[in-house]
């Protein structure tokens, strides 16, 4: 609301100092380019010195902790040894990559990762939408915000905490086993059963983040013009038809955006969550790409090999994000970024 208002006033009055504001339309862009030419590089540097200075700490942190490690991926092409260091470790070309791609364990981790992603897409993704629709239909604002506050809460718990809570409920000594034993039945330990592991980690993810996921949908729902509902109702549409023809189309953009983000992220599945439970259920069920990199590299010291696996993951993820975004553009949605 406030943003669109300020854009309006901004486009009515051209900025005197040559700053662009919001997203300018084409006519304004031309006039701005004239102003920008007038404000030369040196003038702008003098004028914006403090603004640039303000970004420097963040840029410095990113250069050291994000960009230098990107260069550090050079160890993926080396037979790296920490005692020798990067400069003196011998280069081995693509040896690490051919080893990784020929490794059963790597492909097993890839399979697990994709299975977990697909499973969570089917069983996790729709839940926040349903919850948001339910909450949105509540009439009492007090009740609504109370429930919201409660379901958001687990999002702020650590994975250690979430897994601990699940252990107290579903573990061998947890509440579930307790009540089963009290009924004279056999206790079950869901926490250590590899066969049900997929269900376990998905329900953990739902418990932790499904509530938080509704925020985006609630915002999209609140943006719907109420008169659309009224008009539909006057035309004789019942509540299901109103949901089908008004509500769901309004959620389309958000759903596609979130699907893209998820798709681009599909090679990362709850690293902390999995590494915490790997000992309990074994590597067969829980090994994913990230844990594979951790165990081969940092635990077993096969640095170049693990870096190669990690680099493959990074590059494929990048391709997935760009591809998913392309897909969104084809669907006529704005995607995560656009060309402008």
């Amino acid at each position: 609301m406030t943003t669109s208002e300020s854009t309006l006033t901004a486009s009515a009055v051209p900025a005197p100092d040559g700053y662009r504001q919001g997203r300018p339309d084409r006519a304004r862009q031309e006039s701005i380019s004239i102003i920008r030419k007038r404000a030369g590089l040196r003038t702008r540097l003098r004028r914006d010195r403090s603004l640039v200075l303000m970004t420097l700490p963040a840029i410095a942190l990113l250069l050291v902790f994000a960009y230098i490690p990107m260069l550090g991926n050079i160890v993926a092409f080396q037979d790296y040894s920490p005692f020798v260091g990067i400069p003196d470790s011998p280069f081995v070309g693509l040896d690490n990559f051919t080893r990784v791609l020929g490794d059963q364990g790597f492909w097993h981790a890839v399979t697990n990762t994709l299975v977990i992603t697909a499973f969570q897409l089917v069983f996790f993704f729709p839940i926040p939408i349903v919850l948001a629709l339910l909450l949105n239909s509540l009439l009492s604002p007090a009740l609504r915000s109370t429930i919201q506050a409660i379901v958001y809460l687990p999002h702020f718990f650590s994975w250690v905490l979430v897994v601990s809570v699940f252990q107290q409920v579903f573990g061998g000594a947890g509440l579930l086993s307790q009540s089963l034993r009290a009924q004279g039945w056999q206790a079950v330990d869901v926490m250590t059963n590899p066969d049900t592991f997929l269900f376990l980690i998905t329900s953990q993810a739902i418990w932790k983040d499904a509530g938080w996921g509704i925020i985006v949908f609630l915002a999209a729902l609140s943006a719907i013009d109420q008169e659309q509902y009224e008009a539909a109702a006057v035309d004789g549409a019942n509540r299901w038809r109103r949901m089908w023809h008004v509500t769901l189309p309004a959620l389309r953009g958000v759903v596609i955006l979130l699907l893209i983000l998820r798709l681009g992220d599909s090679l990362s599945v709850g690293f902390e969550q999995l590494i915490l439970q790997r000992d309990a259920v074994g590597a067969q069920a829980s090994e994913v790409l990230d844990t594979f990199v951790y165990y081969t590299g940092i635990r077993n010291g096969d640095w170049g090999y693990a870096a190669a696996a990690g680099l493959i993951k990074g590059v494929v993820s990048l391709a997935l994000i760009l591809g998913a975004n392309k897909l969104a553009h084809l669907f006529g949605e704005s995607g995560v970024y656009s060309k402008s």
């Binding site: 943003t3 300020s6 006033t9 900025a15 040559g18 700053y19 504001q21 701005i32 702008r44 010195r49 403090s50 603004l51 640039v52 200075l53 303000m54 970004t55 700490p57 840029i59 942190l61 902790f65 260069l71 550090g72 990067i86 339910l134 949105n136 009439l139 429930i147 409660i150 702020f156 718990f157 650590s158 905490l161 897994v163 601990s164 809570v165 252990q167 107290q168 000594a173 947890g174 509440l175 307790q178 034993r181 925020i215 915002a219 609140s222 109420q226 009224e230 955006l257 690293f271 915490l276 990199v293 951790y294 590299g297 940092i298 640095w303 870096a307 680099l311 990074g314 994000i321 970024y337």
Partner: protein, 298 residues
């Protein structure tokens, strides 16, 4: 959120009884699934050994209440030290993150300023491609940060996502106010400190919560970078006592007055949750569309 008034609009039909009941049932189930386990954990941490034994483990019906577990936890030792480590890392880290992020977000809040696009690009690129665990680890160890608290702070000090949220909010502030301050001769630093920040209390509170919770909950970076068990933060201690069942030192030796081990474990869980529960209500009301959606829409 949708409508301020709590009455049903005239055109909307009254839902049937079955619909009302199933809706209430689902929402009740959702609320219980969140609060139920937490209730049992808190209650167990407060229960005496005899109550826990007769309940057969986790306590649901309140019995004999005792603070023994907490007394033992705060009497010094591993948990106390871990809490101090976590509090320190969280405080210093959040402060550092906020200063760096707010400055960067404000510095980028004016499209068309000098080097605006390249700087923004430098930030955004890190959201698309991450270097990976191995090079990050080699860097931190190469910098000599292994077994220092800086290893728990610096690598995760800024989140580009949070900066983008802040920037989006700063960009929405009415330009007229800032321009008139500039004409009056105020420096950018002063405008940020005296005009922009006071106008952005809600969004900075939310972002500070995001950062603070991130530091408090961080677990794996300590596994990677901290080998000295005396320096472990609370989440690592929580894992070893609750998930791996390591005995809390001194829990047997104390004898008669010793708290039961299950109550102790639950008390450690409670200690890990309480700071979040304390800050959460202050900030929760700001999780409205304004803060989040600016970020999602980029």
């Amino acid at each position: 959120m949708r409508r301020k008034k709590s009455s049903r609009p005239a055109w909307e039909e009254e839902p049937g009884a079955a619909a009302k009941i199933s809706k209430a049932a689902v929402l009740t189930l959702v609320v219980i699934s969140v609060l139920g386990p937490l209730y049992s954990i808190v209650l167990t941490s407060l229960s005496s050994q005899s109550t826990i034994t007769s309940a057969g483990g986790m306590v649901i019906v309140p019995g004999e209440i005792t603070l023994d577990a907490y007394r033992q936890i705060i009497s010094g030792g591993v948990v106390t030290r871990a809490v101090l480590v976590s509090v320190g890392v969280t405080a210093v880290g959040t402060l550092l993150s906020m200063v760096v992020s707010v400055l960067c977000a404000y510095g980028l809040s004016r499209p068309g300023s000098f080097a605006h696009t390249p700087i923004l690009f430098t930030l955004l690129l890190t959201m698309f491609f991450s270097a990976g665990m191995i090079p990050a680890f080699l860097l931190v160890s190469g910098l000599g940060l292994i077994n220092t608290y800086w290893a728990l702070i610096l690598p995760s000090a800024i989140s580009v996502f949070n900066i983008i949220i802040l920037r989006g909010f700063f960009m929405g502030i009415d330009r007229g106010i800032l321009d008139s301050a500039r004409i009056d001769g105020a420096s950018e630093w002063r405008i940020l400190g005296q005009i922009v920040l006071p106008m952005s209390k809600a969004v900075t509170a939310v972002i500070a919560l995001f950062y603070g919770v991130g530091y408090w909950n961080a677990f794996f970076n300590a596994v990677l970078y901290i080998n000295d068990s005396a320096m472990n933060p609370l989440q690592v201690v929580l894992r070893s006592y609750v998930l791996q069942g390591v005995m809390i030192p001194g829990q047997i030796a104390v004898g008669q007055g010793a708290a039961p081990s299950l109550a102790l474990q639950m008390a450690v869980i409670v200690v890990a949750v309480v700071p979040i529960l304390m800050v959460y209500p202050l900030v929760q009301k700001h999780f409205t569309k304004g803060v989040m959606i600016g970020a999602v829409k980029g």
